[in-house]
Amino acid sequence: MGKDKFLNEKPEKLTYSGVFKKIDNWARARSLWVVAYGTGCGAIELRPTFTSRFDAERFGMRMVGTPRQADVIVVSGYLTVKTLKRVIRVYEQMQSPKYVVALGACPINGGMYYDSYNAINRLDLYLPVDIWVTGCMPRPEAILAGFKRLQELIDDGKADGWKKYIEALDWYRGNQRKIIKNWRMPNYNW
């Protein structure tokens, strides 16, 4: 008692157990819980996606308020260094399997903020992105299409960004640390 356990320990690799693989993937695809975290302007498009008009709930998706229970994080728009830190933290607090959806042009290549002193240019250097949805901003229909595609990938067992993140953690960390100079982040457990 007393000491902080499992500190700075590298996460273990996780493998699918064979027996329920199909059922698991099927269930995961049909129960995507999205953490309600808007990083940029795209967050405003995310809300209507869940309302009556577009009704994302029919695909089994819903918003949750806490990263612990979420499966999907949607990076909705440009990311500044300051926000990136929070996104990384939220991502690492989510429980595996977990998926990243990048919304809009900015996470892909910086978008209109390509020359900003503070907005990152490419998200996939820092987090494993499973689905990119382009547009500035993508409309809810596009978002839904993106989620549908994500579901297909999960069903096929191809949405494995979370595994890759664990495997190549040092690489991702290196990239993250390159821009986050003052690394005051705690280390997490996966």
Binding site: G2, F6, L14, R68, R86, R89, P186, Y188, N189
Partner: protein
């Protein structure tokens, strides 16, 4: 035998001789002065001893100049006079010694002469058998007193002396007139002769008038209200040593002559006169002192009040219509009162002399650094306020029980005054013991002697008391009490004290084992003993910081509780009750911030005890058995005393702070056992008194409401407490409310519930308070928001507290549920619908604070300053474990507790069929429902383990995370404070129930206190300080006396 004339003559002669000797050698004058005083002391003592031992059988009659009694001056010394003489010289000697150590004021000779004259005059007043001679001695005393009062030569003392002199002159004028008129009417000055003549000739109004003139003069000297302004000014202005001697010796001599003259002159209105003036003075003065800030004047008010009580007693003593036995008791009471007051008040005034400041604020914390001073001060204050075992207590008891029932209102008056007395004396005590004061001058020999005399007197009085009142005290308990007090001497080593206490308690258990029979007494006896032993065991680890007197007081509490549980008479119970109350007062007062709490506790517990005493006084017989009474007054008075200890609702306001601020080691006992003895008392009242009166059901219904409202409101208040111990205090009080409810139901099920809950509440609340003591010891605070996250540091304590809380909340598999179940079954059986609803709601509200305790102490974020806290020390952990096991065991097998309770109830008529029987599958079955404790326990634990194993096998890979790692909006928390939600947990709920938790009751009590104080303040303006006014009062009152009391037959 020493001839009294020698005492007077030698003193008189040497008084003037000293004046001469002084010129030549100050030292020798001093020596001579003391030699004379010692001679007087020894001579008076020899006379007194002669009377006591029976060597002198008849009163000593001294003829002076060879004239036989009716003609010449003579001295008459009976038993009373001898005793008074001894008292006078003892006090004088003490005062003189004190004065000498302090330094006799210059010019020395004068002071010594006056001192001798004063004592001589007082002795003369006592001894003389002649009215005119009396007048002479009065004048000698007065002049000496004027001189002594003025001898300090400060502005205040001179003013006091002048006022004293003016009023004294008027008074002596009255006395002189009275004497002369007496002579005119009877043709004699000899007291005995006049008494003889008075008996034979018809009491004419004129004669009454004549004797009233005399009595008016005496009453002025006896400082009755409202003609005592001068006296208070003297108390305030004069040298305290002089005052000590005045109030201890001179005034007592006046009192003696008051009684004697009352007897001799057989004034028909004497009774009314003393009742009105004595009672009035007593009551009014006690209240006038309420807000007094000047210590000396405060003591003055107290003295005046005590004199009033004495005058009152004198009236009863001389009332021929009373049976001789009660007059005998009153005489004893008077002796004890005089003794008590003389020594206690002198000792207090001598203490006052050691402190520079007059203002009470200047006494702040004075007791802390001066242990001897503290001892003397406490003894004197306790003695004056009538705390057992000091003589004042026995005197009060004797007096009250000797007053016949038709004067019950006088008893009420006495008790009311006694409560007021406790209010202001203990306010004084509180201020004196609060904080750290300065060291004071050490001139404590005389007061120490006085207080030792007091203690001895108390012991003697106790031993006499049992003989006089026909009450048998269990001598074993007294022996234990004395040994317990004696543990004080091991105070240098706390472990030794602890061991000795445990051994003594263990031996007590062994000796009292045969008394633990299957009846109500035995039941509570067992609770007291075993509970006390567990709680005492847990005090060890923190014992180092305790004061010397902690363990003695603790044990005295326990053995007083034993005494209460074993009492067969109400009076006996009352004595132990008071002993318990006051020793627990001492314990509460040991808390650092507990002074105010202890004061309120003292007020409430003494007021409750006096209410109980009034009830006992009204009872037709004193033995604890079935009593036929009518009316609700007696049971209400009786039960009020017990309800105070249970802190039932309108009487609860002492509880929060007394529980919260008392030493952590003592609080478990206060909550776990002492409140239960209130339950015991209430049970006795329900059983023997309320059961037999015609309005019993209504009273029970009212008490049930009281109980359930207590439970409800205290629970509500507990929800909003931010202090661990205060929260538990409110919780405790609320739970005891349930017990009262159970008792009030008065069906077998209800009593089952009440007794079950009594034991169970001890178990879990004892556990909680013991755990709280451990936590506070480790964490260093009892403020809830400063704790949190301690589960990782003290897992065992957490487990214990968790189980206790589950039990407290009444969640099934633990022991607490049985109590709830029994109670609700009883309520529904009784069909008290509204009470049932409130009771249910209260227990729902309890969940709120249950969670609060667990969360704010153990869960949430661990504070940085508690990072290094460790598990509670071993003895506390052991006690926790014992109680924990008990909770679980009783939870699984409630019959462990229910069977003994059934045995107890079977002894009680009307409770025979407890209404519970046991079946294999359904468990305990009542008329209404059933509940299978063992099944529930097995089911809960079994399925819990099953689910746990299943969970552990199937769950995902579980990792433990760091303390600050919470999903907090992606933010990195910088500090614990940002994350810990520990303050004002129920702010939202408080806004909802704001109107329910309005502190109405405490506002009412506070209002009573404040308004009484204000009233007294206004009334005190009556003493304007202007001597003209005082004189006018004197004349006016004298005229009124002459007008209204002169009606003879």
């Amino acid at each position: 035998m020493v001839n009294p004339i020698l005492i007077i003559a030698i003193t008189l002669a040497s008084a003037f001789f000293i004046g001469i000797l002084q010129v030549y050698s100050k030292l020798w004058a001093k020596v001579f002065f003391f030699l004379v005083l010692i001679f007087d002391f020894v001579a008076a003592g020899a006379n007194f001893y002669g009377f006591l031992s029976g060597k002198i059988t008849s009163p000593i009659l001294v003829k002076i100049g060879g004239f036989p009694p009716p003609i010449g001056i003579n001295l008459f010394v009976g038993k009373a006079e001898a005793a008074m003489g001894f008292l006078i010289f003892t006090i004088t000697l003490l005062g003189a010694y004190h004065l000498a150590r302090r330094g006799i004021p210059e010019p020395q000779g004068k002071a010594m002469v006056l001192f001798l004259l004063l004592s001589l005059g007082a002795a003369g007043i006592t001894f003389t058998g002649d009215f005119f001679n009396l007048f002479v001695f009065i004048e000698i005393t007065s002049i000496a007193a004027y001189g002594l009062v003025a001898s300090a030569k400060t502005e205040k003392s001179l003013e006091a002396a002048f006022k004293y002199m003016v009023i004294g002159s008027i008074s002596s004028t009255f006395i002189l007139l009275g004497v002369v008129f007496l002579y005119k009417a009877t043709g004699s000055l000899n007291m005995l002769d006049i008494a003889k003549k008075v008996k034979t000739f018809p009491l004419t109004p004129v004669f009454s008038l004549i004797s009233l003139v005399f009595f008016a003069g005496l009453l002025i000297e006896l400082e009755v209200f409202p003609i005592n302004g001068w006296a208070l000014d003297v108390y305030q202005g004069a040298d305290p040593v002089v005052v000590a001697v005045l109030t201890g010796a001179a005034v007592k001599a006046f009192y003696l002559i008051f009684i004697k003259a009352g007897g001799y002159l057989a004034l028909p209105s004497f009774f009314q006169l003393s009742l009105i003036f004595g009672g009035g003075t007593y009551l009014v003065s006690q209240f006038l002192a309420w807000r007094q800030r000047d210590v000396r004047r405060l003591l003055g008010y107290s003295s005046v009040a005590q004199l009033g009580l004495l005058i009152l007693s004198a009236g009863f003593f001389l009332n021929n219509s009373l049976p001789s036995s009660s007059r005998h008791f009153i005489a004893l009471a008077i002796v004890l009162f005089v003794f008590n007051h003389s020594f206690a008040k002198s000792s207090l005034f001598l203490l006052v002399d050691n402190v520079e400041t007059r203002e009470m604020e200047g006494w702040k914390g004075i007791l802390k650094r001066n242990p001897l001073f503290k001892f003397i001060f406490s003894t004197s204050v306790f003695s004056i306020t009538g705390v057992p075992p000091f003589p004042g207590f026995w005197a009060k008891l004797l007096l009250i029980f000797a007053i016949p029932k038709e004067y019950a209102w006088v008893v009420g008056l006495i008790l009311l005054g006694a409560v007021a007395e406790i209010v202001y004396y203990f306010r004084f005590y509180r201020i004196a013991s609060d904080g750290e004061g300065e060291k004071v001058k050490k001139n404590l020999a005389s007061p120490l002697a006085a207080s030792l005399i007091l203690i001895t007197g108390g012991g003697v009085a106790w031993s006499m008391f049992s003989g006089y009142m026909g009450i048998m005290f269990n001598s074993l308990i007294i022996v234990f009490l004395m040994v317990a007090a004696a543990i004080y001497i091991f105070g240098f080593s706390k472990p030794l004290q602890w061991t000795a206490s445990l051994v003594l308690l263990g031996y007590g258990i062994y000796r009292f084992l045969p008394s633990m029979k299957a009846n109500l007494h035995g039941f509570f006896l067992a609770l007291v003993f075993f509970g006390g032993a567990i709680l005492l065991f847990a005090t060890y680890p923190t014992s180092k910081r305790l004061s010397w007197s902690f363990y003695p007081a603790y044990l005295v509490v326990i053995f007083s509780l034993v005494g209460i549980a074993l009492s067969t008479s109400w009076l006996n119970l009352f004595v132990y009750w008071e002993l318990m109350s006051w020793s627990s007062f001492l314990l509460v007062n040991m808390g650092k911030k507990a002074k105010r709490a202890a004061w309120i506790y003292a007020i409430f517990s003494s007021a409750g005890a006096y209410s109980m005493l009034a009830g006992i006084y009204l009872l037709p017989k004193l033995s604890i058995s079935k009593i036929g009474v009518t009316g609700v007054l007696i049971p209400v008075l009786l039960i009020t005393g017990f309800l105070v200890k249970m802190a039932t609702s309108p009487l609860h306001i002492w509880a929060r702070d007394a529980y919260g601020e008392s030493p952590d080691e003592f609080t478990p006992l206060l909550s776990g056992i002492m409140s239960k003895i209130g339950v015991f008392g209430s049970a006795l009242v329900f059983l023997y008194v309320i059961a037999n009166i015609s309005s019993g059901p209504a009273l029970r219904y009212g008490l049930a409401w009281l109980g359930v409202l207590t439970a409800f409101f205290m629970t509500l208040l507990a929800v909003f407490q931010e202090d661990l111990k205060k929260l538990l205090a409110y919780s405790s009080v609320g739970q005891v409310g349930y017990i009262l409810l159970g008792l009030a139901i008065a069906t077998p099920l209800g009593w089952n519930a009440a007794l079950y809950h009594t034991v169970d509440h001890f178990i879990f609340k004892g556990l909680l308070f013991v755990a709280a003591a451990g936590i506070i010891y480790r964490v260093g605070t009892s403020y809830l928001p400063h704790m949190g996250g301690l589960i990782r540091r003290m897992p065992l304590t957490f487990l214990a507290v968790l189980i206790a809380i589950i039990s407290l909340a009444g969640i099934p598999p633990m022991a607490g549920f049985a109590g709830k179940w029994l109670l609700y079954s009883a309520l529904i059986e009784k069909q008290w619908v509204f009470i049932t609803v409130v009771a249910f709601l209260a227990s729902t509200l309890a969940f709120l604070y249950c969670f609060k305790i667990l969360h704010t102490v153990f869960l949430g974020q661990l504070q940085d300053e508690n990072k290094n806290a460790r598990e509670v020390p071993f003895p506390i952990a052991a006690a926790e474990t014992i109680l924990l096991v008990a909770t679980v065991a009783i939870g699984a097998f409630p019959r462990l507790l229910l069977d003994p309770i059934n045995k107890v109830l079977n002894k009680i008529p009307g409770m025979k069929n407890s209404g519970l029987f046991y079946e294999k599958t359904l468990g305990a079955v009542s008329k209404l429902g059933h509940w299978n404790a063992l099944f529930l326990m097995v089911f809960t634990v079994g399925s819990f383990i099953f689910a746990l194993i299943f969970f552990a096998l199937t769950s995902a890979r579980v990792r433990e995370v760091k303390q600050l790692d919470v999903g907090y909006a992606g933010e990195v928390p910088r500090q614990v404070e940002d994350l810990h939600f520990g303050y004002d947990l129920y702010a939202h709920f408080r806004r909802t129930v704001k109107w329910l938790i309005y502190p109405l009751v405490s506002k009412i009590w506070k209002g009573i206190y404040e308004w009484t104080g204000t009233f007294a303040e206004v009334l005190r303006r009556f003493y304007t300080g202007n001597i003209n006014t005082y004189a006018a009062y004197v004349i006016l009152i004298s005229i009124l006396i002459l007008h209204f009391f002169a009606g003879g037959k």
